[in-house]
């Protein structure tokens, strides 16, 4: 349970500090670079003291994920220049719908009532936030 709450605290800090960067009129490219640099340093530290296990296939997935993550954070930082963190952060995190949709269409996973309702709510959420002009 403690780990779940620690994850919650760190993800919240991550979102708020990205907003803080736009609040302080920081350059999104510079913030993205320093964020990914220090995340890499932390990852290297934990990789060395941790399992030290590596796999070429996993590396390729890392290459794929890292490329999209770089774009995701950069676009997110640009959106924060005008958008609100509360709404931008929600839409950003709703990206989880993409792997779910791929699971359904690519891996032929069953679409139960829970997932269907979740996907519909995500769609409604994006439309509602998009129309919130205040």
């Amino acid at each position: 349970m403690l780990f779940s709450f620690l994850a919650l605290i760190f993800f919240t800090l991550f979102g708020l500090f990205l907003k803080w960067s736009s609040y302080k009129k920081c350059n999104p490219i510079a913030v993205n670079t320093t964020t990914l640099f220090f995340a890499s340093l932390t990852a290297i530290f934990f990789f060395i003291i941790g399992s030290y296990q590596y796999n070429v296939k996993v590396g390729l997935f890392g290459l794929w994920g890292g490329t999209f993550f770089f774009g995701a954070i950069l676009f997110f930082l640009y959106s924060l220049n005008e958008g609100k963190i509360s709404t931008c952060w929600t839409i950003f995190n709703l990206g989880i719908a993409i792997p779910v949709l791929f699971s359904i269409f690519l891996w032929k996973e069953a679409l139960d009532l829970k997932r269907t309702s979740g996907l519909i709510l995500i769609f409604i959420s994006i439309v509602l936030i998009g129309k919130d002009v205040k």
């Binding site: 399992s51 770089f70 709404t87 931008c88 950003f92 979740g118």
Partner: protein
């Protein structure tokens, strides 16, 4: 303009999460630290290239934000993985995944004095419930 950027961020983050999903589906979840190492390092290399091309050099405030955001991003992913090995996903995702949407929104109102319309509030609530429903 921000709407275009956030939609691009939504799809980029989605395709990024697709890599994690594929990794777990192929039974390589135990290489998570190796994945995170390559993941962040590749992201950094792309970003460094952009920095270099646009001749952007991080100032002190950008470095400080980078330290906190970078360490937080890695730690969040690490603790979420550790939590998933100890307790069921039905508990982890609502707390870490759905919970952070609520905490960020509440803190945004308190710290940055953001004002949300009724549609925005309903959108965040519906998004949080939707995220929890498809995660558990």
């Amino acid at each position: 303009m921000w709407k275009k950027f956030i939609i691009l961020a939504f799809f980029s983050n989605g395709f990024c999460l697709l890599a994690v999903n594929a990794l777990i589906k192929l039974g390589m979840g135990n290489f998570f630290l190796c994945y995170l190492l390559v993941f962040y390092f590749v992201g950094f290399l792309w970003s460094f290239l952009f920095c270099f091309k646009s001749r952007t050099f991080p100032a002190k405030k950008e470095i400080i934000i980078g330290v906190v955001a970078g360490v937080s991003s890695f730690s969040g992913s690490l603790f979420m993985t550790l939590a998933l090995t100890k307790i069921p996903a039905t508990i982890v995702f609502p707390i870490a995944g759905g919970g952070n949407l609520i905490t960020v929104s509440v803190l945004a109102v308190l710290i940055f004095k953001e004002k949300l319309g009724i549609r925005g509030i309903l959108g965040i609530i519906s998004g949080t419930i939707g995220l929890i429903l498809i995660s558990i």
